[in-house]
């Protein structure tokens, strides 16, 4: 019996004209309505104009080689790139003596390798790596950078600067704020009223005041509250200030993670007889921390951006060191500061954008494991 069952596929037809490709996209996703089309043209024009202005200024009118400010100062000159070239090493190392810069490079390198190991999911030994990065690496970096021991010459923190200070500040603050933030978050959720009240007061106070104020007080007023003669290093004071600040934000992030853990988990931990610290350390925290990793990365991004505020209290971080360059009589021109700020914006953007991409990636990755 022959049925009307077709055994051969019908020939494949190409989609109707105007339903694929650029034309389709333009028709349906740009000029789908009159207002939309006009808006699209206006916005596109604005975007192109902005992009063109920047490109024209940076490339076509830009000054590429010059011994000093003469050329950059000419009428109609664009970006003053030789200034960047002359200063770029200082931006990365600050006033770190050139003979000792390999130490900074080594610290950057170890950090990059360890961080890559932590961030790329396929690489094993996560726990060991994390322990190394959060416990051992800061110690190694500290001795390598400061020196004065193991035959390394002492390099005072006054000589640190630029990207080095920015990274030291933000990485230390995030590393210090993790345990402090966990303690504060647990404290705030604690059933002991005094502990919970004190943690809440600390968190809300720190979150309620501007970082500039905290930094000013740390840099200039801290010794007033200490016994005479106690006066930590200026960079250390800034680190303390930013770390306290970061830990309050970290505490709120971790508290959010703790709240996301179902109550059954707490009860389950109690039911099998775990003590408070054991149930936190073995059951709750591992789950909560996993949930909040993207938020922690975001917190790190804002911390990284916020470290630029230490310029206001006279530390030479990346922004600060770029600004001191503007004062150099050799390079002071009408375009110097514009070029400096533009380059800085690109550098900061590259750092923060890649981190935020990573945070989104990890968020997607973690999400799948929680899908039901």
């Amino acid at each position: 019996m022959t049925g009307f069952v077709r055994t051969i596929d019908a020939p494949k037809l190409s989609p109707p004209k105007g339903e694929v490709g650029l034309i389709h996209t333009l028709r349906h996703r740009v000029f789908n309505s009159a207002i939309g089309g006009v808006l699209a043209i206006a916005i596109a024009a604005l975007l192109f104009w902005t992009a063109w202005t920047i490109i024209d200024w940076a490339f076509f009118r830009g000054v590429w080689t010059a011994p000093d400010r003469e050329l950059c100062n000419a009428e109609g000159a664009g970006a003053c790139w030789p200034f960047i070239k002359a200063r770029s090493l200082q931006w990365v190392y600050g006033f770190y003596p050139s003979a000792e810069r390999w130490r900074v490079n080594l610290v950057y390198l170890i950090g990059a390798i360890s961080l890559a190991g932590l961030m790329i999911p396929a690489i094993p030994f996560k726990t060991w790596n994390a322990l190394f990065f959060f416990l051992l690496y800061p110690v190694i970096a500290f001795f390598l950078l400061l020196g004065g021991k193991f035959g390394l010459t002492l390099v005072e923190t006054e000589q640190w600067g630029g990207l080095l200070v920015t990274l030291v500040l933000s990485v230390t603050a995030i590393v210090v704020s993790a345990p402090l933030g966990i303690l504060l978050a647990l404290g705030r959720r604690s059933e002991m009223p005094i502990v919970s009240l004190l943690s809440t007061i600390f968190i809300e106070t720190v979150r309620g005041v501007p970082l500039v104020l905290v930094l000013f007080m740390a840099a200039n007023m801290f010794p007033l509250f200490m016994p005479p003669g106690v006066n930590p290093d200026k960079l250390l004071k800034a680190v303390i200030g930013t770390s306290l600040f970061a830990s309050a934000y970290m505490a709120e992030i971790i508290r959010g993670g703790l709240q996301a853990i179902p109550k059954g988990q707490y009860e389950g931990a109690q039911a099998i007889g775990l003590s408070y610290w054991k149930s936190m350390g073995l059951i709750i925290m591992p789950q909560a921390l996993k949930v909040v990793i993207p938020s922690i990365v975001n917190n790190f991004i804002s911390l990284f951006k916020d470290t630029s505020l230490v310029t206001v209290v006279g530390l030479f971080d990346l922004l600060g060191i770029v600004q001191t360059g503007f004062n150099d009589p050799k390079w002071a021109s009408a375009q110097t500061s514009n070029t400096g700020y533009f380059a800085l914006a690109v550098i900061y953007w590259a750092f923060c954008f890649s981190m935020s991409r990573y945070s989104q990636f990890i968020e997607r990755k973690l999400n799948t494991s929680h899908k039901r």
Binding site: R29, L47, V195, G208, P210, F216, L224, M226, P227, C352
Partner: protein
């Protein structure tokens, strides 16, 4: 530790009571809290004695008397009458008003731009949505302080000097001294206008309540907006007409170096305001976007099925539901904007942080001045949180 206690518990019954007491969570809680409290009290005592000793060594004493001294310095812009003869406390007050000005205006505009961009990012139009994405991804990844510096350079550079100021009909002038606009002085009889405005506001509020009730009862919709807005606009004008138009306009006039009269928005304010608004709007846009995405797709489909167009669906169905998700993170953005306004020091806009610094410098009372600043910022944060919590409670889902 726990293992040990279990063993003890099982083996030796007589000491059981004592062990129980030692390991009772309640007692341990009280004891550890007492320890924390003691440590804290000790720490505070230690800090206070240190500070006292340090102050005594400097022949300084703690006190707020200095606030009544003449400040001796001028401020570039102030909302209240202020000169170098005013007191330190007035300088701080002027600074606070400047902080409030830039924060409130910043919050309003950042919210508007943030909502627009957030909705734009979800637009089906490819150009519109990608423009929003580019804006967000560029701006929020650059430190605010750097943006303030960049804006200040961008604002100052193209603006002409006072003599070549951009002139709008001799009333508004734009130059590198800022935007100078006529200043209006309300003369006698203006109270009539104010009273009428207030009664118009109350009247329209009552009217709108009534029209909503009527809509619920009868289904008829009154164009409440189109009736109330003209009333609100017309009422104060009517009042002014009755009083014989008592407005005195103080027009800016170029004399010598500068414009005289009028009100000035200084470039420092403009740069700070732009930077704050444009930076914060990116975060608000992301909050709005995630809030809208979180509203179930069925809601907008149902709304379309009911025959509401895109705009109405967004306005009447999606946004009200999204607000519940949006408001808590929006609050923290408002707080961030207020705190970030303290970066005014970078461009010399005399906000609270700036004036506190100057007052401290002239009076030498660091602890007093900065504790005032601390308390003011904290209170502002607290009040903003409370206001937003109240608003949040209003829009919260009412569950059965």
């Amino acid at each position: 530790m726990t293992q040990q206690s279990d063993d003890q518990r099982n083996s030796s019954a007589p000491v059981r009571g004592g062990v129980d007491l030692l390991y009772s969570p309640k007692l341990r809680g009280i004891v550890s809290q007492l320890i924390v409290l003691l440590l804290l009290a000790g720490g505070i005592y230690w800090i206070v004695t240190n500070t006292q000793a340090n102050l005594v060594k400097l022949n300084q004493n703690f006190g707020f008397d200095f606030l009544n001294k003449a400040s001796g310095f001028d401020l570039s812009t102030s909302l209240i009458q202020y000169s170098s003869d005013s007191t330190f406390s007035r300088a701080l007050l002027a600074g606070f008003y400047n902080t409030a000005l830039v924060s409130i205006l910043g919050i309003i505009f950042a919210t508007i731009i943030g909502f627009i961009v957030g909705v734009m990012r979800l637009s089906k139009n490819l150009v519109v949505s990608s423009a929003a994405t580019i804006y967000i991804e560029i701006i929020r990844n650059i430190p605010l302080l750097l943006q303030i510096f960049i804006w200040y350079a961008l604002v100052l550079k193209p603006l002409p000097g006072t003599k070549q100021a951009i002139n709008f009909f001799d009333t508004v002038f734009i130059s590198n001294r800022g935007i100078i606009a006529p200043h209006v002085i309300f003369g006698e009889g203006s109270w009539i206008s104010v009273t009428l405005l207030i009664s118009a506001l109350i009247g329209t509020w009552v009217f709108r309540r009534w029209s909503r009730k009527r809509q619920e009862a009868t289904g008829q919709i009154l164009p409440a907006w189109w009736i109330s807005i003209p009333i609100i606009i017309a009422a104060p004008i009517l009042g002014l007409l009755i009083a014989g138009w008592p407005l005195i306009w103080d027009y800016p006039v170029l004399s010598g170096f500068n414009f005289k009269g009028g009100v000035t928005l200084v470039p420092e304010f403009i740069a700070l305001f732009l930077a704050l608004v444009i930076y914060t709007a990116t975060f608000i846009a992301e909050i709005v976007r995630s809030g809208i995405i979180a509203v179930s797709h069925g809601q907008s489909e149902a709304s379309h099925a009911l025959g509401l167009d895109n705009g109405k669906t967004l306005r009447l169905v999606v946004i009200p539901q999204a607000m519940r998700i949006i408001i808590p993170p929006l609050t923290s953005q408002y707080l961030n904007l207020t705190k970030n306004s303290s970066l005014a020091v970078a461009v010399g806009y005399p906000d609270l942080m700036y004036t506190a610094g100057t007052v401290n410098n002239q009076s030498g009372k660091a602890i007093e001045v900065y504790s005032i600043a601390l308390v003011v910022y904290l209170t502002t944060s607290l009040v903003t949180s409370l206001l937003m919590n109240w608003f949040n409670a209003r829009v919260k889902l009412v569950e059965r």
